[in-house]
Symmetry: C2
């Protein structure tokens, strides 16, 4: 069984990451979504192990201390993070595992797992990103400006990513991510079985 790839997807607010990831999951059946852990309270309609793993602050801090998380962050009074164990289990089973996380978390994952594949979803242009954020019509202008400033920082971090996929049309972005997943499985260091078999083959005359 060939191990799957750990895929990290990030991108600025408004770029349409959620839509891309959802469409991606529908077109690739050896793909699993990582579930994060959080210390915030479960909300009506949420399911433990589906939306999040809901754990205590003590347990979360223990996981940090034991290096059981691929990445974590604290927002206001709550922790959010990615437990390594369920991700590793899926990778061993041959699934590619998707983490949809912030830039800071992505860089933490890359430090712990240099083999992780980091994909940054960019807008066709920064103008278009601003248009998409304003087009929603549900966000105050000062918040939009703040998100665009944050996007600036995120784009700077994208140079540390492995790939940049432009989300102009969702289907094309998904095609491109699928091509990346295919290519990553063809990397020579992932094809060790076929090379090993060839090296061990004893050439003998046809009798």
């Amino acid at each position: 069984m060939k191990k799957g790839n750990l895929i990290v997807i990030s991108g600025p607010s408004g770029v349409g990451k959620g839509t891309v990831v959802k469409a991606l999951m529908q077109r690739h059946d050896k793909l699993r979504f990582s579930v994060s852990a959080t210390t915030r309270a479960i909300r009506p309609g949420e399911v433990d192990g589906v939306n999040y793993y809901y754990i205590t602050k003590e347990r979360f801090e223990q996981m940090i201390a034991n290096d059981e998380l691929l990445e974590h962050a604290r927002y206001v009074d709550n922790y959010y993070g990615t437990p390594a164990a369920p991700v590793d289990r899926l990778l061993e089973e041959g699934y590619d595992v998707i983490l949809e996380i912030e830039v800071q978390g992505a860089l933490q994952v890359k430090q712990r797992r240099p083999e992780a594949v980091l994909i940054f979803i960019a807008a066709p242009s920064f103008d278009e990103l601003a248009r998409r954020l304003r087009g929603r019509g549900d966000t105050a202008e000062d918040q939009i400006l703040q998100r665009l400033e944050t996007a600036h920082t995120e784009y700077s971090a994208a140079t540390s990513y492995d790939y940049v996929v432009v989300n102009d049309y969702v289907d094309e972005a998904v095609d491109e991510i699928l091509a990346i997943l295919t290519a990553e499985r063809l990397k020579a260091n992932k094809q060790t079985q076929i090379l090993k078999e060839a090296n061990e083959y004893a050439v003998s005359p046809n009798v």
Copy 2:
């Protein structure tokens, strides 16, 4: 204009490289084939600049001395090699350029151009490679054994390649190579234009 990728394809005798590359050229129109230079005499039916660039021994040795070749080798009394200039011109024009060359040449290219993408075409198994070589029915058994020994050496070198594509079905192998070419164009260090534009964008309120 985004520069194209330099793609090097190698694989053992009998693996079906030629068929794969031919099918690949038919399915990708931004792809060009590199033409090698040689000092051997032109043969009936061959065309200068199509099959090879036919040049003198003196000119070839001058090209070696001036480092004008991406790779070269000497077989018996003749030189064979890849002139860099026509390849660079096509890359600048945005084409991906394919070099179908031996393992030794491929490693020379990688030394001169670390950004070159090396793809090794492998057989589904070494047994199958032997079967394909014998199945042609036009090669003596001692030559087949020699080719399989050479294949051993080639497979060992494949660990220095970037990707290994198994040629089980030609169409699938071509799909996989096309995925690699797509992924390589999405590498963050190839997407500098979109990241630069975002960094230079001045966030301003909507007035």
